[in-house]
Symmetry: C2
Subunit: 221 residues, 2 copies
DNA sequence: TTTCGTATAATTGTATGCAATTATACAAGC
DNA sequence: GCTTGTATAATTGCATACAATTATACGAAA
């Protein structure tokens, strides 16, 4: 889940705050005081400030000059917007994978689908969530476009909280894994048109399923 | 062009460095020393560091821990990728504008097209570039989606340098403004399907024109 | 009681000092 | 000549001190 273990304090603070915001551990619009955070985390204000400025740039906190930093959480509307953006972009990503995916990523993708089918049969929700996340990550890493992969990875992380609750539904899980298999096979066969179409639809299917399962409710707490 | 005039030093440093990177004033992979920058800008290292960390998050500089910050410029490949992503996203944006654009933005958009037609007839390249940028910005501000507008605005700024050279071509300018007029009228008539299709094609047309005018050469210097 | 003004406290913004890490120079050994 | 080891210099990472700005408390006047 976490990529390279951070070496710097400011990096660690950044990822911790980001996780806490994306997972909903902070209330929306909650004030983030530099002093409070630095005491809680046992560091000075400097790395906290650097982390807050980065989160501000990303839009996850609002920085009001000389006043403070306030949580800007992902809303249900954001999730809807993200899925509508992801749909064509994941299609584009799948298309590009047909040209650029390296052998080892292709093999990891196949393995991922096999494993997911196994865990779905056993009803292992947690493993399914991780495998699903990794399936998309493999695509992002294999499309040979830093702009596309960065954008899609950010979006994927932003909707992680909303996705969490969908893996309890075995029906959707099975359908989702079936779609992964189709996408994987289209990429393996280098059928760019098919891969694009399948990936585009896969994202919309996931979103429609999420709506049926009560997206709004997930963001009420 | 610049939004709110920065009050803080770190904000000013950030925007200055970002501009310098996006406009190509720094060589790619050039090292950005904190001390050097702070002396050049007449500030301490603290705001410089904050700006560099933000640019690092954005991907415009690569931060190597304990080593340094290195320019990560936009390449010709990035520009191609961005246009392919922008195409469906601007389509989505235009579609949403049909539902959400407020009256004053609609009026500004109409005025923008009228003005552009005027300046095109006179051959005023600089004004055309600004009006073109503003046309798209109005769309981004009117789609009622912070995710979409932020993404598209970033992309638009990233390709600014590549776009600069296209406004010397009066032929493409006229075609582009004609496309703007069509998009504007589709939005005014609330024809979402048409607006989406026109905006999608508009971006691809702009990109193909850019290719013909030698995109690669613009990034050789 | 409410409103305004002022003094005080709290918080952010920036500069600077020091520790930790990395780069550089240069000499010894092969 | 080339590599390697070591001392020195340069640079980044973090903590802290101080300045600037904003929030709060409290009393005076209406």
């Amino acid at each position: 889940m976490s990529d390279t273990k951070d070496v710097s304090l400011s990096g660690r603070v950044f990822h911790k705050l980001r996780d806490d915001i994306l997972s909903g551990r902070y209330k929306n619009h909650e004030e983030l005081r530099e002093m409070t955070l630095s005491e809680e985390l046992g560091v000075s204000r400097t790395p906290v400030r650097e982390a807050l400025r980065q989160l501000g740039l990303e839009g996850l906190v609002e920085i009001i000059p000389n006043k403070g930093a306030y949580v800007n959480a992902i809303t249900a509307e954001d999730v809807e917007d993200i899925y509508r953006m992801r749909s064509p972009l994941e299609g584009l990503c799948a298309r590009r994978c047909c040209s650029f995916i390296p052998l080892e990523k292709m093999e990891e993708m196949e393995e991922n689908v096999y494993l997911a089918e196994f865990h779905a049969a056993k009803g292992h929700g947690e493993q399914l969530a991780q495998l699903d996340h990794r399936f998309h990550e493999i695509m992002y890493e294999s499309c040979n476009s830093r702009m596309l992969s960065r954008t899609l990875l950010d979006f994927h992380e932003y909707v992680m909280r909303a996705r969490k609750r969908t893996f309890t539904e075995p029906e959707r899980s099975l359908k989702s894994i079936g779609e992964h298999r189709q996408i994987m096979e289209a990429i393996r066969e280098r059928d760019a048109d098919l891969a694009e179409q399948l990936a585009t639809r896969h994202v919309m299917n996931a979103y429609e399923n999420m709506l049926r399962n009560g997206l709004k409710e997930a963001y009420q707490e």
